[in-house]
Symmetry: C2
Amino acid sequence: MLFFTQCFGAVLDLIHLRFQHYKAKRVFSAAGQLVCVVNPTHSLKYAPTRCAAGQTSAEQGVLPPCHNHEAVHDPQLVPCTCPLFSCPWQGHLEVVVSHLRQTHRINILQGAEIVFLATDMHLPAPTDWIIMHSCLGHQFLLVLRKQEKYEGHPQFFATMMLIGTPTQADNFTYRLELNRNQRRLKWEATPRSVLECVDSVISDGDCLVLNTSLAQLFSDNGSLAIGIAITTSKVHNTEGEM
Amino acid sequence: MLFFTQCFGAVLDLIHLRFQHYKAKRVFSAAGQLVCVVNPTHSLKYAPTRCAAGQTSAEQGVLPPCHNHEAVHDPQLVPCTCPLFSCPWQGHLEVVVSHLRQTHRINILQGAEIVFLATDMHLPAPTDWIIMHSCLGHQFLLVLRKQEKYEGHPQFFATMMLIGTPTQADNFTYRLELNRNQRRLKWEATPRSVLECVDSVISDGDCLVLNTSLAQLFSDNGSLAIGIAITTSKVHNTEGEM
């Protein structure tokens, strides 16, 4: 009797998992892609911008770590700050990945095409959803941020950063795609290097930007699915299909 | 001698036209498409929103023209206001096109795929760029608006409206595409009916939205090229390529 109860429980678990998987899959149409459920990181208390502080140091003749990488010949030894805003960590580029994994518990996923499923979109700004994405011999960092650029009007900003130098980043193209409720939005660009500030990319709006009502139209039950694809782009092809 | 001078003048004109055409074409990659240069309409002085006024009338039991179309059986006889905000014109749906052409001098273009080249993007908000687009047996209205949704932060909003009823609009899908500076942005959605308020679509942000810095990245010498394509979509295909 116990055996049958356990079997029944296992079957129920399988059905539940299948349903969860189906729910995650159906928000994004492409077949055969890895769906990664990404929970929000804790709300970050935004201090006065680190980049601005960096500029002040530069004016005083002391270059901040994210601006003096051009003098270093080995990209892995370029001094680098943690791309997460609230973290004061500094180190070399080669150890950023282990810092992000160990200190911030950020997941790393394999594959050129994945679906990033950000949960709890209703949480108040500022909130970040972050994963690392390993493909084509490099690690990339996808940052989705809910932020009030204009007070009382939270927006969502999504960008892809290469954990590498700007020269290495120029060899890739990333694509973010939202697809739901008879609307489709695609953003394609060259990833930025983590040596540049994530915050300045987001504050410039040089990324995928969604207002709250559009994010709601694209989200399903409080979760937003973003299809991610990364390709190499030695010669950027403007004629090709997106 | 006069003949040769005239010939030389004609050749220079041809070279100039060819250069202008090339300039317009190269901002958008697709070949064989009609490029339409769209000058801004005069800056509109935005009064308190007409839709809000309509809602007040509805509360008082008097439905505004854009809300009582469901009771009329012939779509061509549906009462309709002018989709341009500052215009107080009211009439039937069947005469909106002639009103827009005659009163507002809005161009009408033929073809399922065209390039909308909006000039003078630097002009202060509010500014509209508008064309009519005739294809698949219907007329569509493309509205690009520069507006300060948040004071001091102008944004660009682009949407496509069908000059027809919401039921007719559901049969189509439109696509807007920007492509420049190693960035590509595509927006695909069902057009809205001109019986709905253009202003509410834009204020909801349920359209293609660009901040100023992104608009600058996509523009060339002060002009923004938007590729437009319209297709029928009786059954909305979520699996198809965008």
